[in-house]
Amino acid sequence: MKIRSAILFAGALSATTWMASGAIAADLTDVGYVDQADVANLPVFVNANRQLASYKSQLDGQFNAQVKHVKTDAERQQLALQFQQQLQDKQREIVGPLLQRAQLAIAAVSSTRNLSVVVDKRIVIYGGQDITRDVEAVFTSPQAITPPVATPPPSEIGFVDQTVLDGVPKVQTANSAMNQFETTQRQVYAARMAQARSSSEKQQILQQFNKTVADKQDQLLKPLVDQTRSATSAVARKKNLVLVVDKADVISGGTDITADVQNELAK
């Protein structure tokens, strides 16, 4: 009898759990994606890029003419920075308004479809809502795009800004040490490679080089990568997120947990 009761109880509990999860756990359906490469092929973007390329080519000519007269590396660097700045200003002038309109179009479509996050197409391989055509239609329409009044609903897809995490002092130190190590080893092994006579000897040197670099990566970077991933997972769990992606892949919405991960790493 006791066993039968236990089985019945377990069955009831299981049914409750199943019903509860069915009630709480609706599938993620508020994720949209945009094929940014397709948007970039719209004639306005193609024209803008053409204009920018032509401007860059003019600047290159001017830079090459002026760089002949500089005497020191510092002057050369200064000149390069100056031209870089000019190019960036032009880019802002030509492409800036287009990107702004594209962002508005994405936000408008996202709001209409009640999406909590819009990501780049390359990270979604199945499912999700493809809003590329809708975004393009809004973008190319002659009307002004009204920004949506409501902010996107809270998303269960989080993101981290990798560039910010790279700025954490211990990550920065490890990256810099790794770069230095690799540069030095590259020169050492390149010299050995130049002395090598047979292809098998070259192959052996290459393998040694790869192993040396990989070992150092394991020693310097892997612990930090593991630590970062584990910190990110911990934050994601705390915030009830399902997945966390790189900020570079998020176009609109999503939950930014960069600062939380940064704090976890600083501990």
């Binding site: 599938d27 993620l28 990270i123 199945y126």
Partner: protein, 434 residues
């Protein structure tokens, strides 16, 4: 009431049920709509790529790219500007020493030949019975003209040697440039052919596995059924082995054919390149020979214009012609001997020129060729990677659809929920290629 037997039956039943589910979905599928998964899946693309059968080829390409990158760094390593200056000074010293040595040898040879000519003339006069003033005058005349001729020869030969050096250097440079160019062209053609054949093999490999994918999957599913009769299992395993053997045989046959094609192509290219090099270098050498012969003829005629030693008129005609013959013979012997010295000098100079060129980065061209090769390899790598990723994504989509996922991501940064489909996709890819 539960008993060990009934528990065993339940376990078997569970296994059979699970096998049934396997047939339907390719494995004991997770509850994709649970609160932890929420219909969300993800795959770790890097891990899937590492398990793809074409990953070995991808690694080979990576190694080839890394090798070129490593080699390209090499020229920057060994020498500083100061070291190059010091080595140039050493080479210049060696070149000057070689020139001095060649000049000294030539001067010594001129003196030797003049002395031996004089001795030969004396002997000829004595043999002809010419004595006294005639002989003495003839000897004096011969000695004086030999000295003049020697001086003239010395000047003319120095001139000829300088000219020879110049022309031979031009010849060497032109020949080596032509040979290098033709060899580079041949190497490029060979590489292109090899790449094309390798691409064909890769395509065939993929085509074969895709052709048999459905059959293989069906057989694998059958094998996953724990309740399958031993005979049927054997038959299914044999069927899998036959598929693998068929694909392997087709690929092997293609590889053998490609290797033969490549060998024949190499032989053909070598023949063509060798012929072209011989023909073009032959033309250059012929032109050089003509130039040198013209110059030698000019020098010869200049020397001849000095004429054979003017001999006293009272010498019998046969003695005069004998002495003229001796003079001619010594001049031609000297010229032949001097040419050897000049040739030796030119060899030394060519070697030193090569060392100069290497010091001044004459292998910059190799960097250019390496850059082209690098570009080609990177393109092949990118194409192959895309091919692998495309297949991984196709498989992931199929698995996701079969198991009822709502959305599947790739390359997520971290996961607090969702379902990791990586191992399933890997298994799927591996089963298609086994």
């Amino acid at each position: 009431m539960s008993s060990p037997n009934s528990a065993g039956r339940l376990a078997r039943l569970a296994a059979v049920l699970c096998a049934g589910a396997t047939l339907a979905t390719g494995g004991c599928a997770p509850n994709v709509h649970s609160s932890a998964i929420r219909g969300t899946g993800y795959i770790r693309l890097d891990d899937v790529v590492k398990h793809h059968p074409l990953y070995a080829q991808l690694t080979q390409l990576d190694d080839a790219i890394a090798a070129i990158n490593l080699q390209v760094v090499a020229p920057q390593v060994p020498l500083s500007a100061k070291q190059i200056t010091a080595q140039v000074a050493v080479l210049n010293g060696q070149l000057r020493a070689a020139q001095d040595r060649a000049n000294k040898i030539l001067a010594q040879k001129q003196r030797d030949y003049a002395r031996r000519e004089q001795q030969a003339v004396s002997a000829a006069l004595a043999a002809a019975g010419v004595r006294g003033s005639g002989a003495s005058a003839a000897q004096q005349m011969s000695g004086a003209s030999a000295q003049q001729a020697a001086q003239a020869e010395q000047a003319a030969n120095a001139d000829l040697m300088a000219y020879q050096q110049n022309v031979i250097a031009q010849d060497n440079a032109a020949s080596s440039s032509v040979a290098k160019q033709l060899q580079t062209q041949a190497a490029q053609k060979y590489r292109a052919k090899a790449e094309q054949l390798q691409q064909n093999e890769t395509d065939l490999s993929l085509r074969l596995t895709q052709q048999d994918a459905a059959t293989r999957l069906a057989v694998k599913m059958k094998l996953n059924n724990l309740a399958l009769e031993p005979d049927a299992r054997k038959q299914a395993q044999a069927q899998l082995a036959a598929l693998a053997a068929k694909e392997s045989a087709a690929l092997g046959a293609q590889r053998n054919a490609d290797e033969a094609t490549l060998r024949a192509y190499r032989a053909d290219l070598d023949r063509q390149t060798g012929g072209a090099i011989r023909s073009q270098v032959g033309a250059i050498t012929a032109q050089t020979r003509v130039k040198l012969e013209e110059r030698r003829d000019q020098v010869g005629s200049q020397l001849r214009s000095l004429g054979p030693p003017s001999l006293p008129a009272n010498l019998p005609p046969n003695v005069q012609s004998r002495i003229a013959a001796i003079h001619k013979q010594f001049i031609s012997q000297f010229q032949a001997d001097a040419s050897k010295t000049v040739a030796e000098y030119n060899d030394t100079k060519t070697d030193l020129d090569r060392q100069f060129a290497a010091l001044h980065g004459a292998d910059v061209g190799a960097t250019g060729a390496a850059a082209k090769e690098l570009q080609a390899l990177q393109k092949r790598r990118s194409d192959l990677y895309q091919q692998i990723v495309a297949q991984a994504e196709r498989d992931a989509r199929r698995v996701a659809k079969d198991q009822g996922f709502s959305i599947v991501f790739v390359n997520v940064w971290a996961a607090a929920g969702g379902y990791d489909l990586t191992s399933q996709v890997i298994k799927d890819i591996e089963s298609q290629h086994e």
